[in-house]
Symmetry: C2
Subunit: 344 residues, 2 copies
């Protein structure tokens, strides 16, 4: 059963006006965006720029620090804007990255980009494509404030006959160092409410997909306590899929900031900091060994390594045979990673 | 031109007597080793156990700490002995691991194990195999003492017609945080002298192979300043190949310990420690993204993860856009990693 689409069909506003609030002008020339105002790639670029700005500004307010803004270009077409705050008051490393890239893909690369691996037919084997997204990882200093990650992306590809394939992907997930059931409920419930406005199966399906995706096979544990994750979303219509992605992007601040505010003055011990560093090590393991985006990025010539590896924590630790004692809070955390829970 | 084989054909001695000096009894039952005393897999298991013991004891003497010895079994056949010293006086993390595993391989897996990818024919597609090796990574605390890594291994596989394929692989390489030309010369020259006793092309060929193998593609830099690396060594004869591997294994202590002794009292600054942590991050990147042994291990069900990831440093750091200023010692280090040098 499909729930009615969100009512909040607010006007998307004048492009120039909206751009004034961004961390940097959009990747695409503003004149070009104005010319193709109604097209999905314009609307999506505006959404990811907006999401970057909203999230960065919310983090700057709570931290007191400032994001360093780097614009970069990709020789093959497009570029990005990386916002990084390192060694802030609250945040050890906070990165919010936008990228808008375009060019041509081989049929093989096009197939790999899509998780279901649909075969696409290109003119002489080459497919014009456009890919854009916003992605972020925030690693706080205080072990009682969880790490958060989100990514929302849009993909367009043109086949030999001129027909366009498009899809959305994304998700938001939380990686605490210690379990806090209220935080977990708040985080998941905020996502569930955003999902439920669009389809009653979205939250349960995308919650499961998230647990499955962020799984560290060799450790037999998930990276964190999940959230939602989806890919290849091309239904029920482009308008409705975009409306869903917009709802998700808008929950990033309400999902995370209340948790930051709640814990920013929590005291912590050296042992708690140590456990955080061990968990950071697992975060690195997931990102370097399994993450599809990182693997794709590292293997792609001309990609911006610093923006891809921005997701790694400032510091991490690997202790041989580390295993928390039974009955400890560390063991409770591990248990939730070994057997994903329903938090809502 | 082939140089004469090493004269030092010392008696390999009585098995039981030699086992007394090991960190733990060998993986294979001593009675079984005595029964097949002349076979290569026995001689190699004795060599790797001996190498582990010699290296661990040399490190214990200089550090003052003790290795923790873990024996582990592999359900599918075989097992290993992991020796780890963590948070010692000199060493942040020192691991020396022996493994001796056997069982059956699929033709696909057998092909992957060999770097040249020779096709092997098994009985009903299954190939009995035996693989053993010693491997070690030592991460010191002092940034003026380099990290060292070595690995020596032997592989045997039986084809459908009962004929045996075998080969050796291995290498020793150094990862300093700062360039010290005398150390680099000593390290490479000790390896060169060991190689030269067996073949004049071994050092130049295996030095190049090492630079090529320990290359972090996405950074455009090598992991360290190299040493030697070789694989698929099955010539000129099994006896001579083993004699070469024995020479290499015996150079581990003389390659590394003099460097440790030279620098153990060097003072260092917080900035130098920080640069060490950044280099540790690159070490993690290489090991998790590229290292064939790690990738193979993580993907193999039933492998012992803690022994595989023992090679990771106790701590590492990722700073966004870290680039040393021109003319600094850090920049000099990077330059040597971006353009591998001849040290001898």
């Amino acid at each position: 059963k499909v729930s009615p689409i969100s009512e909040e069909k607010e006007p998307e506003g004048e492009i120039l006006e909206r751009c004034r609030g961004f961390m940097s002008p959009p990747v695409t020339d503003i004149g070009e965006l104005q010319e193709r105002e109604g097209e999905m790639r314009t609307r999506m670029e505006m959404l990811i720029m907006q999401t970057q700005a909203d999230f960065c500004k919310a983090l700057e307010v709570v931290d007191g620090g400032t994001f360093k803004v780097d614009r970069w270009q990709r020789n093959e077409g497009g570029g990005g804007i990386s916002c990084v705050m390192q060694d802030g008051k609250l945040f050890e490393k906070a990165g919010v990255n936008v990228s808008v890239v375009f060019g041509y893909l081989t049929e093989e690369a096009a197939k790999q980009m899509r998780s279901r691996g649909k075969v696409l037919k290109g003119k002489d084997g080459k497919l014009p494509f456009c890919a854009m997204g916003v992605s972020s990882v925030i690693h706080p200093k205080n072990p009682h404030i969880p790490t958060v990650h989100f990514n929302y992306r849009y993909f367009e590809i043109e086949e030999e006959d001129g027909s366009k394939q498009w899809w959305f992907g994304g998700g938001t997930d939380l990686t605490p160092v210690y379990i806090n059931k209220d935080d977990a409920f708040h985080f998941h419930n905020t996502l569930k409410e955003a999902c439920d406005k669009h389809h009653s199966q979205y939250y349960p399906d995308f919650k499961k997909w998230c647990d499955r995706y962020f799984y560290i096979q060799h450790r037999g544990e998930t990276r964190g306590i999940g959230g939602i994750f989806f890919d290849d979303l091309d239904s029920p219509s482009q308008e409705e899929a975009f409306s869903f992605v917009k709802s998700c992007a808008r929950t990033v601040v309400p999902c995370y900031l209340p948790i930051v505010h709640k814990h920013l003055n929590d005291s912590f011990t050296e042992e708690e900091k140590d456990w955080q560093q061990v968990r950071r090590g697992r975060y690195v393991e997931f990102n370097l060994v399994y993450d599809r985006g990182v693997k794709f990025g590292l293997a792609t010539p001309g990609s911006r390594i610093e923006s891809i590896l921005m997701s790694l924590p400032l510091s991490a630790r690997w202790e041989y045979m580390h295993e928390p004692a039974k009955g400890t809070l560390e063991a409770e955390m591990l248990e939730a990673l070994r057997n994903p829970k329903e938090w809502v």
